[in-house]
Symmetry: C3
Subunit: 674 residues, 3 copies
């Protein structure tokens, strides 16, 4: 059954509201509630004194209402008493400022006192509720990510480094500590990155982020094992959150959770919200190896650029079904009821301040009905099948957030999103692959490699084998530059890919925002003869990718070919006349190199053509540009994101509408703005 529900915080409300809550949940078809996420100070108001009565009543009440519970351990926010008892367990910033309670997430994950307190409260919950009939899953902690630079963390960091690097000489070499006289002669000299006079060492910064991900994971595993021991039948998860500040490598964490659960809050209130929904869902599905659960999203608001945007009618439905179409086991929200106070008192909710007589609650009721109808066919349906993939690598992201880079506005996330968006707009269903975690690259027709800055020798070999065996690889600038420890691969960029790409880059030319560089075609004949000319009716240009004019921003390079064919040359700017896009035949496959920061349209045109050449097909031919189509098992989900009606195969979609077609006919919500 598809899950439908969200975060529920009865501890913030008097008991008479609980009764109304369950009644409203039943009215909406809610079948799961996440309970207890930040309830530590209500569960353990004083050290060692527990108050479980209220939680007993909540779980019983939900159970009576037929609603399952994802029960959380409350360890993401220690109570105020914890600060007084263990001031040394509070996090310290890079400036040496020790934080205080007053918000959430204020703990040092390396602190023995914090770990002990977390184990204690989680253990008591396990003991009491592991066999409660309402319990459907354990939800450990919340959105792991807190950073600390204290001395306790320093000690843990050193242990981690010893495991990673072995001896100090190896670390000195990997970190190039001879630069600026930072060679360590004793492990005790190593601390987390802290305020220093000038730029820090990128290798130091990156290893600290890796350490933090692993250290937080230790904290998770400790609780997971304890919960599993209490009742092995109940799955354990934690909610992954995305963001540039997050020190968690989800691709690695995914191996340790029973269910990949993801919080997703689009940060664009326009059409970007739908593209981000598709992106987040495809990425989560990749982490989950096919299955995953949307644990949180905002039902009625999108927060972006300092402003809460109310979603238009129908958008809650479209987004929710979008996640489901892309493999989620359900649709869950933050949160059930909007609070009267606290830092998030205006955060979104299914039952807002104005109560259930509101557009959002009415839409939730209808959506609940739809999900119930859909459940028999969707719940166990296999996820969408993709013939193309994009690479994702958290350490590369972190490294490209680091110091000393040739441009301060390099944006890994934007680059991966752009690659995914190009495929999304080309109606190509995409998966993600994780070459930093697994060298299994699948049998995709095409793999796009945006800004994969760090590449190990093993990953490089896997890409080589993939292409040699007939795959099509599209590599962009800033890929393959460094070894996993950030040491540059010498001899010309992109070091790890130079051989299969047949190119050598000798200079980078980052461009200021607003500068547009044009690419033109210098090899129309060559590419035509290579069979690109009329490869697909859906390609907007013919002859070569560049004949219709490609444009680039932010980045161009001085490329020398070494075996590759030049597909497109720079038409203006400092590299005018030099190769911009190349293709190399390598074994049975092709490896493309894109040296420029192509604009959206240009990247889309390029990938559409390369995909067609590689034999990757769109989900449906001839889809209108505003219509998104996703196949999950036998189901075909059609989303009209435009503000005009659209028709696909004689099925009419109202503006903002969704239709779901199964093997036995069209069904699903006649939702729309019209």
């Amino acid at each position: 059954m598809l899950l439908f529900g969200g975060d529920y915080n009865p501890e913030q409300w008097p008991e008479e509201v609980w009764t109304e809550d369950v009644a409203l949940m039943r009215q909406a078809g809610v079948n799961i509630a996440t309970v207890g996420v930040f309830a530590w100070s209500d569960l353990e108001p004083e050290p060692g004194r527990y108050e479980f009565d209220w939680l007993d009543r909540v779980l019983d009440l939900l159970h009576e209402g037929g609603i399952k519970v994802a029960l959380a351990t409350p360890t993401a926010s220690p109570p105020p008493w914890f600060t007084l008892a263990h001031p040394e367990a509070l996090p310290v910033t890079a400036d040496g400022i020790r934080l205080s309670h007053g918000s959430r997430d204020t703990y040092c994950v390396s602190s023995p006192a914090y770990r002990a307190a977390a184990r204690a409260v989680a253990g008591r919950l396990a003991e009491r509720y592991a066999h409660h009939p309402a319990l459907a899953m354990w939800h450990v902690h919340n959105e792991y990510g807190t950073d600390c630079r204290c001395d306790v963390t320093a000690a843990a960091f050193r242990l981690w480094l010893q495991k990673r690097h072995g001896d100090l000489g190896t670390l000195n070499e990997a970190w190039t500590t001879s630069f600026w006289s930072q060679r360590y002669s004793d492990w005790a000299q190593i601390a987390p990155p802290r305020a220093t006079q000038y730029m820090p060492n990128p290798a130091h910064v990156l290893d600290f982020r890796r350490f933090l991900s692993d250290e937080l994971l230790d904290g998770f595993i400790e609780q997971r094992d304890l919960l599993r021991a209490a009742n092995p039948a109940v799955p354990v998860t934690t909610n992954f959150v995305q963001g540039g500040w997050v020190s968690v490598d989800h691709a690695r964490w995914a191996e340790e959770v029973d269910v990949v659960a993801v919080d997703h809050y689009p940060d664009d209130a326009g059409p970007g919200a739908e593209e981000q929904t598709a992106f987040a869902a495809d990425l989560a599905r990749g982490w989950g190896g096919g299955s995953w659960l949307l644990m949180e999203t905002g039902p009625n608001l999108i927060y972006t650029r300092g402003r809460m945007h109310a979603k238009e009618p129908g958008r809650l439905t479209r987004h929710s079904l979008g996640y489901v179409a892309r493999g989620s086991s359900g649709a869950m929200y933050f949160q059930w009821r909007q609070p009267r106070g606290g830092a998030e008192l205006f955060h979104s909710a299914l039952v807002p301040h104005a109560g259930p007589d509101t557009p959002v609650f009415r839409e939730a009721v209808a959506l609940g009905r739809t999900l119930r109808t859909l459940s028999p066919k969707a719940a166990d349906a296999p996820p969408p099948a993709a013939s193309v993939a994009v690479t994702w690598d958290a350490p590369s992201w972190w490294a490209l957030q680091g110091p000393g880079l040739p441009a301060a506005d390099i944006d890994y996330l934007a680059a991966v999103r752009q690659a995914h968006r190009a495929l999304y707009r080309a109606k190509l269903q995409a998966d993600f692959v994780f070459p930093g975690v697994s060298t299994a690259l699948g049998d995709y027709r095409m793999i796009v490699v945006p800004q994969l800055y760090l590449v190990s020798d093993e990953a490089a070999a896997a890409f080589r084998d993939y292409v040699a065996a007939g795959g099509t690889l599209v590599v962009t600038y800033l890929s393959g530059i460094a070894e996993p420890d950030t040491r540059i691969r010498l001899g010309g960029y992109p070091g790890a890919f130079r051989e299969i790409l047949g190119v050598r880059v000798v200079e980078w030319h980052p461009q200021a925002p607003g500068t547009v560089i044009t690419l033109e075609d210098g090899l129309a004949g060559a590419t035509a003869s290579a069979g690109l000319a009329a490869s697909s009716g859906s390609v907007a240009f013919s002859g070569s990718v560049a004949s219709a004019g490609l444009t680039a921003e932010r980045w161009i390079e001085r490329v020398e070919t070494a075996g590759a064919a030049t597909i497109s040359r720079y038409a203006d700017g400092p590299m005018a006349g030099a190769p911009a896009i190349t293709r190399n035949r390598y074994g049975a496959g092709s490896a493309w190199y894109v040296s420029a920061g192509l604009t959206d349209d240009s990247l889309q045109a390029l990938l559409r053509q390369v995909a067609a050449e590689a034999g990757a097909e769109p989900v449906l031919p001839g889809l209108p540009s505003e219509v998104e189509a996703v196949r999950r098992g036998d189901l075909l989900f059609l989303f009209n994101h435009g503000d005009q009606p659209a028709t696909v195969d004689r099925v009419t979609l109202p503006p903002g509408g969704v239709r779901i077609r199964s093997a036995d006919g069209v069904e699903g919500p006649p939702v729309g703005r019209g």
Copy 2:
């Protein structure tokens, strides 16, 4: 007699300059000097060793020159020796950084050591000068507002909270501490808001600002009582300063001073300076219950956006008379003589670096003459009478500066200024009322309520009674949302006003800057029949407020009427067709709701029409747009803020000119740029 003078710092100058100062003061007609504001290190150069000789000579010299003295206690800036003697009395930031001397205002007001030192020096001044013949008033401290987050402050904060909330359970409830596990089990767990991992609790933040206002007030009262005891005949005041950083609720403080004294520095060098002058003066008059004193303004400079703008000729005169017209007992400046050094060495002065042979000093001499002429008629004249009022509430401002709001650029001060500006441009003399301090709302024809976010039950009842009794209320979005402790009023916005407004708001739609929403008329007939159609010749539109086209920015809402008539509907945007402005007949009065962030022109058109309907009249009919008119007692002040001559009732005003008409004819300065 109208006061004329300003801050005088003889301690910065050799004694030969003092003689020149008094001669120049006499030349300019200065009759009061504020002395000693930051003189602590000169009065008490070492702990317990006082040097009063120089101050004796200064006061005697001024007295001989016929100049009165506002004698300050110097407690706003402890001397450097204080830092060494009492490092624990220096303020600590939210990050835990303890500040050092080197500027001004560097003290913790909760510190017993600071309090004792302040009492000691104030006591010695009282003892020595309470009966000096030059003494006209005591000026305690300077612009109270310093913030501290140290442990001493924490202890004081807890005592204050115990008084406010009684028991810890009540506080936990009021602050919704169950959110994010912040429930307190011991008072000792509560500290001032300090650096924490993520967003703080808005209730915590707001109560700390309330505490700080009260704590600073304690510091003032302590000195006031001591000075009063020395000579009960001498009034005691302190200079109020405005600004978003100020943790002082002046409406409450006003009850404790003998004279409301205000520092006012416009932050707009264009026409905004005149609007801000009117705003500040009307607000100060409200605090003072009718009377007040302009204690400081910059005579020749306006500082805004990092730049000191020299005032045009005549502007010093216009601004000064503007304050007087609106009830000030005089015009005082910071400062008499521009210093040769120190942090404010380029701050404005009546005697600038170039000396008295300068435009500013010449204008001051002429202004002194004008004020002398005006004194017999103006000094005791009653303040301007107003038929409309605007609400002001410092805690609502503070709450709207807090965390977690639906838009980060909500700006309470801008909203109140805009409402006042609309009335100012409509030539309606306005007062301010303070529903957070007093439920007395007066007998105004119309009260405008901009973004009154926090409303108590008592205040809500007062508004209800006001309307029921025939008053006209105009409430804007973001009003009535929460109880004074920031707990949201449930069931639909604007909770506290829902009944009298006859509306229910179910969604907010903050808009990004630059997005303009149009409002149109859907109920022309209804409003016409309600008598609005031709209510006033001065109304720029007829039929309904919206027929001429209203526009809004920043904010719109989904409004449902529940008894109210819709006066204007949204014409475009996500709420197209839904109510935007409504009016509800309630008892004998009317209550208008404005759900949109109207632009200046639109708000002015609306308020002009509503005021006309309510029977509020402009100061004079037919005033040219650039002319400001204010009545104080029998005097009519006319200001031409434009750059062309203007004529009012056969009185001609040169560009930038001011005329004052008394019952017995036109008089006053023929000042102008022409």
Copy 3:
């Protein structure tokens, strides 16, 4: 011989790379390498344990290759062990945050522990290498400038202040400490500027910067003397770096180094790079009294606005020869080989990541050839001779970065650059003079004085004598305002210059960016009769400087003449009709006052005319605008900075090309983009 080489860090590379390095250096004609700059942790990996073997091998290898060495003391970056051994020697910010190692420059120069450690390692280097045959010079430390606010620094600051001010009363007077109650009654009360509640005292801030410059200089001198003692024949230098953050007064430091060595990194990737090259070179030559050495520049990259811009082909050559033409003893770079890791892993290099088969290395090889050819004629040639000069004064810069100024965007560096640029574009070779260090003003035809905020009585007298003796002085606004301790000169701006200029400024009117003020001519007859009318064919206007229309931004003033003739009046804005530019005949000379922030074109027009009147001639008549000409001894350097060919005296310069003409004909590189 002209030096050619740069920073070389063999400690970052395995020894096999060293061999390749020397071979490539020989290929490129490199004749000097700067070694050991940040090698402390490799030279002394543990306290007192030295590893010199590797450095022995490096120096021997270089020596065998015929390459000289500038051997650095590594004291700019203590090793990690130093942090653990001497935590008290790490720098503390104004906020009280103690920094940690992890970058470079992390030390407190006042710390006895740091000083001792620095002396120790420098002493060991001196002992071992003072007579090494490869040693050409000592390079002490690197880019002195680190700031610290700790208590040890405070004690040193107090000693320095005692030397400067004598007694506390004098300091109190000089700093105007009576302002805001900051009068000191004990030296112990004085600390470095630290976080305080509000604006600091500008005199305090400025004296701290002066102190820091002197304190760092003490650190340099200590090492210099120790190195000199080891071998008096080897010159000792340190590399000066420019930047607003640098607390070093290079004009004073220049007296203590054997060679003025300068690091120069233009921060503009457009034509500004060439103007900055000329500016930096002329300034360095001024510091060096005619001779200097370019110690570092980026060979192939310009870093600006967060982005590394690759230099176009030929630009390395043009810039390098630009420095040489303006007197540098060579061209040296940071750095030889681009590192594989560390914070500057993408910083520029002669041998980039891609290796020697790259545009930059090929250009370096050609440049090496050119420099070898040029050496016999250029190495000992006298520097360029200039007939005009510009003033430079670090304390005025620092003061104009201080608090409390009338505009937050006053930019001394921009003003001096603009004055120099105007002369550069007028093809006038300029020197710099340093009135804060020496009152010798030379016998220039014209001296331009931009924003010389601080002027001593002695300097003022020197300017008076200069003009009286027939010199032409051009003074801009913000000059002569204060005494060296920042105390304002009273009676009207610009105090120190009022008499020779014959003007008195009574008001400043800083203008917001974007506001343009026009200046017009009110005295055409007078200036014509003064002989300006047709003074030069190269002047774009006649009659008066203003008849062609001058424009100003940012700053205008209310000027009263007191003897001076008005050359140009304000045509609009608040000062319309008042004098804008004046000229005063004083003794045998002329003193011009420019009260407005003239735009580039206007300042250039003015200075061109004034220079012509003063008899200063351009380097060559009739030079195309894109061509720069510099004479060094018998050599004439011609640079074509444009993208079209240019012809000068029948010598054709390709776009981006350089030609060097000696007494016996044209020679030099036919370099260009064409």
